[in-house]
Amino acid sequence: MSVEESADTRSAESALKVTRSRRNVAWSGIGAVIVVGALFAFPYYEGSGTLGIMIQGLIILTLASMWNLLAGYAGLVSVGQQAFFGLGAYFVLIPAMHGLTPWAGLFIATIGAAVCALPLWWLVARLRLGYFAIATWVLASVVMLVIEQISSIGGGTGEPLPGLVGYDPALLTAYTYWAALSVAVLAIGGVYFLLRSRVGLMLTAIRDDETAARSSGVRVGLARLLVFVVAAAGCGAAGGVLAIQQLQVVPGTSGGVFSVQWTAEMAFAVIIGGLGTIEGPIVGTVVYMVLQQTLQSHNVWYLIVLGIVAVGIAIFARRGLWGTVDERFGIRLFPVGYHLWAPGERRGGLGRLGRGRGRAAQAG
């Protein structure tokens, strides 16, 4: 149980203990399984209308998790993720046009988007924050313009998705929902395990002090590349799900898969929910969906309100909704940091008592 007897150098009182979180992770794990299980059971209880909304939410959730990974953990503010989102959709469309079922196409979308990320990364890798943002925006526009040239896949007007004709509509919705749920769970799970791994540690080091990390041997470029590729994969998968849900793929900047509105939605969800925490995107997506459903009939108002809230939070409550809660209560459903137990500190203490000394060592 107690680790690092050798860490005790100064005081002879007690050995230092280092664990992943203050609370027993097993409980969080069980909780997560229960929640996911319940979500999987939804189609047996809910109708297509609700499922359709949930699919939308799951797509945004996936996108938000990816954007959070990029901006919150790797410091990469990308305003061009719609490129991979759109590419994912096309990676489902094109094989479908040649006979491959879209469900399998999802895998291609994920891998295909990841592969496309490599040359794109090469173009933008060395750019600093603001330049990087604009460059990704330009890249997304270029990708869109190039694809719009290819008339065989619909050119500028879009193309319907073959391969799903003949499915019972309710069943199709259920299958789509499960696909979306799987993608979202894998995305969040993937991010979680990535951040718990060595790469996560490298990212934290880079976030704290890039120069120091570099001189400690951290391969900064490689870590960022990995994150960029993973985020591309996630966005690609989400794009594939969208293609299936909409049964068509339309490029174009207003409402199409390459619209920057997608980046706006994922970015705002993350900012509102909490940048730099895994739980943040979940909270943010919920807020987003609530806003969208309430203001649905008012056209683009939800995006305006979302934007205003996001800007407000960015300025007044930087850590977002979850981040603020996390700061006060030290709750982490997905612990990716380490907790240093002060001598005599008890497990599971909530509030000020447990917060004091251990808090300072909790990173990530």
Binding site: V79, Y131, A133, L145, W301, I304, I315
Partner: protein, 290 residues
């Protein structure tokens, strides 16, 4: 001769791009801020123009100074309130806030004005009137006028920054904010002036765009922002004339692309932009590294 005409056209368009870009260049040079809402501000100016004309029925050309003034005031106020709050919280926050602003503005405009494009009705004859050089080169008067205006504005800005009190202060604050404070300058006020200038110049560009073609809510991010940024990057940060050069190169590249295939127009511009970004990110006129 089509090629020559196209290139000349591209050249003149480059002036307009430079006009869009100089505000962005100023903000970035002085405050290290990439204002993602920059393009949308040009569109806002255009719509303000539409509104002013609708209310006062004044001729378009008279409305330009009014719009510029309104935008300059808006710039100062926005800088002192929102942007300053964002800048003081870091680059990440600034990017997010300006991005948020961009989305809010675009969708807001769309909500109130619909997504349709709108022109500033200068009168067809004025726009399309042209003159010819030799027998085959045609130049539209208006395009030439816009180019001249762009050069004049850049010249004026250059002079202002070099010789006026606030121009010096802007440069000083950009160099070393603390040292400027020690000399008595309130850098928040200086930033506000810089923002006012940036907003003012982008207003001129927005009005020009509205007069040459049309404006629509999505134009801000669709084309203007990226073109403006491309002009700054290609030309090199820190030099207004570099921005003009960048704009011209961009315009010519687009014209050449359009000659090859009309749908290659934007792509050609972006291609040049990406090339510069990868191989010479400090731009063509800059000496040092980025």
């Amino acid at each position: 001769m089509d090629w020559v005409n196209a290139i000349i056209q591209g050249l003149l368009t480059g002036g307009l791009y430079a006009l869009f870009a100089c505000g962005l260049s100023l903000l970035f040079g002085v405050m290290k801020v990439v204002n993602l809402a920059h393009g949308d501000l040009a569109i806002v100016a255009g719509y303000i123009g539409v509104g002013v004309i609708a209310v006062s029925h004044m001729p378009v050309l008279w409305s330009i100074p009014v719009v510029v003034l309104l935008m300059a005031v808006l710039g100062y106020v926005l800088q002192r309130s929102l942007l300053e709050a964002a800048i003081s919280r870091g680059e990440l926050t600034t990017l997010i806030v300006t991005f948020g602003l961009s989305i809010i503005i675009e969708n807001g405009l769309q909500q109130f004005f619909t997504a349709n494009s709108r022109g500033l009705g200068v009168g067809d004859s004025f726009i399309t009137a042209s003159f010819t050089i030799g027998s085959q080169i045609t130049i539209a008067w208006f395009n030439l006028a816009v180019f001249v205006v762009a050069v004049v504005v850049l010249l004026g800005l250059q002079q202002y920054l070099s010789y006026s009190k606030y121009g010096r202060l802007i440069r000083a604050v950009a160099d070393d904010r603390e040292a400027a404070q020690l000399s008595g300058a309130d850098y928040r006020h200086v930033f506000g002036i810089a923002a006012a200038i940036a907003f003012g110049t982008v207003a001129i560009a927005g009005m020009a765009e509205g007069m040459v073609t049309t404006i629509s809510p999505s134009l801000g991010t669709d084309t203007i922002l990226l073109f403006a940024f491309a002009s700054v990057v290609i030309g090199g940060l820190g030099s207004l004339w570099g921005t003009l050069l960048g704009g011209v190169i961009l315009g010519v590249a687009q014209a050449v692309g359009a000659q090859i295939n009309p749908s290659y127009e934007q792509l050609a511009g972006y291609a040049v932009f990406l090339l510069v970004l990868v191989f010479r990110p400090q731009g063509l006129t800059s000496r040092g590294a980025q």
